[in-house]
Amino acid sequence: MNALKIIVKLAWRNLWRNHRRTIVMLSAISIGAWAMIFMTSLVRGMVNEMLRDGIRALPGHVQVHHPDYRDDPSIENLMNTTREELAASLLAAGIERFSARVRVPAVISSERESRGVILLGVDPKREAAIAAIGSRVTEGRPLTDVGDGGVIIGRRLAEKLETEVGKRIVLMSQDPDNEIADRGFRVVGLYEANLEIQEEAFAFAGRMTIQQMLGIGDFVSEVAVVGDDYRVVDPLLASVRLSIDGDDEVLPWTELDEYLGTMMMVMDGFVIIWVVIIFFALSFGLVNTLVMAVFERVREIGLMLALGMRPSSILGQIIVESFFLLAIGLVVGNLLACLSIIVLSEGIDISIVAEGMEMFGSASVLYPEMEMQDVILANVVVLVLGFLASLSPAWRASRYEPVEAITKV
């Protein structure tokens, strides 16, 4: 116990014998740690926002479809079970946050223009629990119930169609017999979404209204289910699979939107690579500092060995010195990162490249998000690899021949 105390004391004092060198090295480690955590938080913030947005853009965490629906999202591939039966079995399994939708490609026409949209017949009360896009109605009113005869479209689509709240539009789609099914609707509300493309893509109406327009009884195209955490979908997936019988396909969002699923995986990989690269760039300086520290103390180390200090204590001294360096650097780096993230918590406005970010599927305000697992990863990598890097100089120091070391000039 006492020996350890001495080692720690010696290491601490040695660290500050050459305070300039120590400060330069500490700055490097702090900047490295700051960059690791800060950059990771920015990327996390961007990707998480993208994921949440993408999931909100209708997939939900788990979806149920007819097996052919994803390849051919047409009216023919409605689910095999009626909505009522589906709802009953989901509720029986204790799953409450779900929404059954009719989802078909359609053409929307105003007096002046026509566009292609995805028409969704929804249950407004159930959609609200999922908080999907279309829920941020900024003008007019939201849909009220499944029989609502109005339609809600995106603000951007309204501009393109040159229509507005209160005006009439016509929606055309295909019924199961491949006849054109059309119906006039009044635009009752306009919604806003984070991505412009989402404001152009979807039109929402009451589920029953659409079912009647298409003549499809009580059948729907998809059921979206939301759980507590989009990162952990497997339990939800399993219980939905259990409660849905028959041939319908149950898939998690990572497979429904492979771009988003891949994105999450790639970003996890990016974080590790980034942290390791930064560490390697740091490690050269770290090893250098330790080598120097040992080199200029050769005679002193020889003396200590000659006086009977065990080589393991010398080894320990150097390693503890390295640990102090890393630990102080990490503390400062972590604090700096926290500070810069707090300063930027209002979000970084990158709207000058908004359309570019939209290509990535990302919104134009970036909110850094510090995740505990990344912070732990960065700190552990620095400490563990730093320990490994300091082994060589420390080992070397402990193996000096006392007489040679003392007489070395």
Binding site: M25, A35, S74, K160, Q174, V291, A354, G361
Partner: protein
């Protein structure tokens, strides 16, 4: 050999381990920079090229506002004669007129809303890759043929093959009802799902007839021999456009603002990372040079008392750094170049890249190319950073007073 240079060189190798570690830090960062920059710039070029070649072209003559609203009535009158004028004025071959509208396409079984383009069969292949991507059937060659080319996913969803008929429903230019029956002549497969799912092309003569366009079109597309050359053509094109009322010249940047912004967003993230690497190397160099100055205090005291000026000693320190930096630059460029060249032949990819790349019109394997710019741009910054960081140790020499310096040691 100059005496200062020889001194500097010898000084470096008084502590070979320290020098190699410092050079190692440079080589590591430089190699990463060379590889990353080669990869990035190659990708950007490919991304721009693929996106523009697919469809957009380098310039388009359009009605003002068309690029944002794409409304049927925003036409270019006399499009053909403008195209001819452009061909004569610029001697470019790759000039083609194009029209577009939204329409319903119905087969026997299915109806989908799609974007239909009217293209000039004689010239479209010069401005777009779609005609060359026809994998089944052929691209129409007669401008009045009642034929249509559809994307592969669309063909699958509509369940049509070559020779089948599609009914096209839409609105004519004046808002009147427009309908036609077209025979599927070809199916294209671009690999970009969004395009393959939602686009069809028909000969412009037929298109104009169906949609009451008369001699008008929506755009005249111009492709110059290379993206780097577009500025050479801008003035000529502007003067042609100035001769016509109600049309404007748009360049690729205005037509695809997302493209440049995606690159900018990606670049700024990358520059942050590169900057961190450069700073870390700079700290490493500062540490090394500070040590090397401090441990030579006695020696510097002697030479100064012999009449050497501090300025000359400072230059010596800078020269040492420059030699070290040069070694790091050359070795780093060499290692980075070799790594990049390996990928030039074997292709670079990471798990999930195919998913992400498709979003930006990129292939799933990428073959980075080394150029002088990518080889030396990153290392040059590391070099400059190293020299700047050596200023502090070099200037410290000025604070040494010969007698004190010798006494201190």
């Amino acid at each position: 050999m100059n005496i200062t240079l020889r001194l500097a060189w010898r000084n470096l190798w008084r502590q070979p381990r320290r020098t190699w570690l410092t050079i190692g830090a440079m080589v590591f960062s430089n190699a990463i920079l060379v590889f990353m920059i080669s990869l990035q710039f190659g990708m950007y070029e490919l991304m721009i090229d693929n996106t523009l070649k697919a469809f957009t072209g380098h310039f388009q003559v359009q009605a003002p506002g068309y690029k944002d609203d794409t409304k049927m009535r925003q036409i270019v009158p006399n499009a053909e004669s403008i195209a001819t004028e452009i061909r004569e004025a610029t001697s470019l071959e790759a000039v083609a007129v194009r029209s577009a509208t939204f329409a319903l396409a119905s087969s026997d079984d299915r109806t989908y809303g799609i974007r239909v383009f009217g293209v000039d069969p004689a010239n479209e292949s010069r401005v777009s890759t779609i005609p060359s991507l026809v994998s089944d059937g052929r691209f129409p060659d007669n401008r009045d043929a009642q034929e249509i080319v559809v994307g592969s996913v669309l063909a699958r969803n509509l369940r049509v093959g070559i020779g089948d008929e599609l009914t096209i429903l839409g609105s004519g230019r004046g808002g009147s009802f427009a309908a036609a029956v077209a025979t599927v002549a070809g199916i294209f497969d671009s690999g970009v799902i969004d395009m393959d799912r939602s686009i069809a092309e028909m000969p412009i003569g037929f298109f104009n007839d169906v949609f009451y366009m008369d001699d008008a079109a929506h755009a005249v597309v111009v492709v110059t021999p290379a993206l780097a050359l577009i500025e050479d053509y801008r003035a000529t094109l502007e003067s042609v456009v100035a001769g016509h009322d109600g049309v404007v010249l748009q360049d690729w940047d205005a037509l695809q603002p997302g493209l440049r912004q995606a690159i900018q967003a990606d670049l700024s993230g990358a520059f942050f990372m590169y900057g961190v690497l450069v700073v870390l190397v700079a700290f490493s160099v500062m540490n090394t040079q500070l040590m090397s100055v401090l441990e030579r205090t006695y020696e510097f005291g002697i030479v100064m008392s012999l009449g050497l000026t501090p300025g000359r000693l400072g230059r010596l320190v800078i020269l040492e750094t420059a030699l070290m930096g040069l070694a790091g630059l050359l070795l780093g460029a060499l290692v980075g170049g070799l790594i990049t060249t390996w990928f030039t032949y074997n292709g670079f990819s990471f798990p999930g890249m195919d998913q992400m790349a498709a979003n930006f019109n990129l292939p799933s394997h990428f073959y980075p190319q080394v150029s002088l710019l990518t080889l030396f741009a990153g290392p040059a910054f590391v070099f400059i950073g190293s020299i700047i960081s050596a200023l502090y140790p070099a200037l410290r020499v000025h604070w040494l007073h010969p007698v004190e310096a010798m006494r201190l040691a």
